[in-house]
Symmetry: C2
Subunit: 504 residues, 2 copies
Amino acid sequence: MDGFVKVNSADNVAVAINDIEKETAFLDGVCARSDIPRGHKIALEDISAGAPIIRYGTTLGYAARNIRKGEWVNESMLKLPPTPDVTRMTFSAMAGWDFPHTPPKTTFEGYRNPKGGFAGTRNILAITTTVQCVAGVLNIAVDRIRREILPRYPNVDAVVPINHAYGCGVAIDAPDAAIPIRAIKNLMDNPNFGGEIMVVALGCEKLTADRILGEEDNNRDNVIVLQELEGLEAMIGAISKMAESKLKRLNERKRETLPLSELCIGAQCGGSDSFSGITANLAVGFASDLLVKAGATMLFSEVTEVRDAVHILAERCVSREVCKKLADEMRWYDDYLEKGRVDRSANPTPGNKKGGLSNIVEKAMGSIAKSGTAPIVEALSPGEKPERRGLIFAATPASDFVCGTMQLASGITLQVFTTGRGTPYGLAAAPVIKVSSRTSLKRTWKDLIDIDAGTIATGESSIEKKGMELFDYIIRAASGEVMPAAEKYGIANDICIFNPAPIT
Amino acid sequence: MDGFVKVNSADNVAVAINDIEKETAFLDGVCARSDIPRGHKIALEDISAGAPIIRYGTTLGYAARNIRKGEWVNESMLKLPPTPDVTRMTFSAMAGWDFPHTPPKTTFEGYRNPKGGFAGTRNILAITTTVQCVAGVLNIAVDRIRREILPRYPNVDAVVPINHAYGCGVAIDAPDAAIPIRAIKNLMDNPNFGGEIMVVALGCEKLTADRILGEEDNNRDNVIVLQELEGLEAMIGAISKMAESKLKRLNERKRETLPLSELCIGAQCGGSDSFSGITANLAVGFASDLLVKAGATMLFSEVTEVRDAVHILAERCVSREVCKKLADEMRWYDDYLEKGRVDRSANPTPGNKKGGLSNIVEKAMGSIAKSGTAPIVEALSPGEKPERRGLIFAATPASDFVCGTMQLASGITLQVFTTGRGTPYGLAAAPVIKVSSRTSLKRTWKDLIDIDAGTIATGESSIEKKGMELFDYIIRAASGEVMPAAEKYGIANDICIFNPAPIT
């Protein structure tokens, strides 16, 4: 199968590692009947119309017409199978999970937090907003703080405004408003922010400070209300002064050696291609298993991209409750899409298809590879904080910037991001490690990709080797020993909170 | 009625101009039965349970219990009347509209555009994005362009990145996706951007460049695809180089004397109180009538805040078609809110209520005052561009930052913004003139409020005088002779596009 990757012995298609010319013949007697672009599928045998097309040992769909051995199998040739029925999923306790590799490390250098919970990988002052209205003033203040005040507090890594499009002109009591409100509330508690609360409010917005702050925090030490201040200079003065008092305390934080059970990281993929599921995501899955075995907490997400493989995740849930919550989140999202009169076929993207991903089933199988093989100990609603430690499904949209924001709300302090097509995505509040699914991307974007997993497909490396390399890089990045590219260059996306409720 | 404002002779409530103490008596025999906060309503006569409570000559609601003359009438005492039925609205041709005042000016100094249409009030390079993924890189490039390149082109006012949360991880073919896509497409054509097209794309997003660009514009002179470039420096280099070629051309633009028919401005209110509808919004309405009479185009918006007064707007529509489009937009929004399981009672905000606005009917009556008395020549779907000139209803959410973004997409080159409670709102792509509804706000925020209309309530000024003053200020701001506060200080909100379709 030189030139092609077949993942599972049951597969009747394989994926081209490079562009394949028409009439190229392969060891096992398959001959390409047309040019086949890199990342796309070839039929390994004749497949009759209506018969299953199998990759990862799973039915991706049914042949829309007779397909001959050696033909290029693209998205027009597959009919989608029915969506897995979430009302009849089974779980197993997975008591026997044993990952046969030993984590090379069980500690990292992190910032312990005063209230306990997960530790930080960075030391950041976050300034939260109740409403977009204040963003213009806050941005001016943050520029000044970064220039004039932050340099006096060298142990603090950054000042990050949490600007968002929520807070007013929204149906604040709509059932789904719970999601954006919880996200803003929980974002403040991200372990990278050291337990310091600082909120800039307007004064007449719907998202009043008491909706996101407990009584003990909702006071003048933590909350600035612009409508109570006399003009712009007073506003900037008040924001700067409060920021300085918080920076002083944050500056006292020191890294210490902590068990990996205090580390919470997220995994995400974006701009995927058909290599993602055979290289980068498998390497992340291996690293994830190592991390979980070492006691760390690992979040994976993206409802629409796991939806078609959810029955496989259900089998990995540790209890009926976790399985039920997982099913509830899927059902919620099914309804949400239906209200908008769309369905899961809205995914994959044109870029995914160009990269060889024919449909959402194929994308889902590649996507869940990131979660490795560990038992799933918890399922979270969008932006919820975990109560358990280990591998956790955090329900978020698959949109990169929304998933990133919502995982930050759930408390990740570092994210591993796999990409096939390439995206310069980054987060201001946590380092993002970029893993490429193919070597050609690493070659083009050598300064933006931290780890190349493309060598898994060519045989130069292996899932195990790359997984180990990634594990090591994660620990070093979490410990502040290396800065991933996006962090080094200051590439950060906006905070994009998931708001499924109406705006008014 | 010293101390109170009664708007219409049919009204059975009046509004306190200042905080009123219990037992204060007024000329016409009304005596306050409790302290009444400024901006709140007092009953001018006994009102029986179930009887209408009338302000602006319109029923705001029905008394929830017997209310005695002199009582404070707050939101708990009103029951909402039924929503106006948009299926049975009547329009009148309004052929006889004649506003009995003469515009003191019929020209302004603007930037004519190569493709015709409205003229610019500013000369700005906009860099549009197809997707949020590129925002991190674009922001780095824009910082560099502002520092190193823009100073060489002194006739250009600013470089503005059009970053937004749309573009991927969205249901791009959902019926409602037409709204955000149109908004991004039309934003690029804002007259302040001088007809220069510059788009930064990623390469695998759902919002491909051809969805927002015509064939003639979709080429390498206008579109940069990050996935085609070799790393961050190449990306920043390519963006800087394209920006410079656009800046060179924009730098040739010169202001010239143009008829007001080439001016398109927007009106909006935010952080309203019950003074908004008796001071600031009436002054804007007067200025709007002057502008429309002089040939200008004036957009007003905010569906949820006109919904309960829409039958009054319908009567001002110039044709059955305009009336029907207006009704269609209301119906669309009714459905949208219903899908989210909320209704119009989600508005007003806590701040509005604190300011004395009891319900959405009272808010709507104050809100539509901004539109003056002119005939309504067109109704636009969210983000649509006008085809006619004159007074136009542009359907947008009432959310300040979303309304501002969507009015920019419809082509406004300046916005008049009234506020009672106060907001530091601003737009990067067009000057925003802030008009306060009460003098105390102007006193507190003297550097942020451009015009104080509060003096209308105290009798120191009048609607006509303030309207004239505002008209003059609008022309001078449009002509670049004055910079409103938000522009002067660089206070700008984010681009917040209205996306009612699901994200995936």
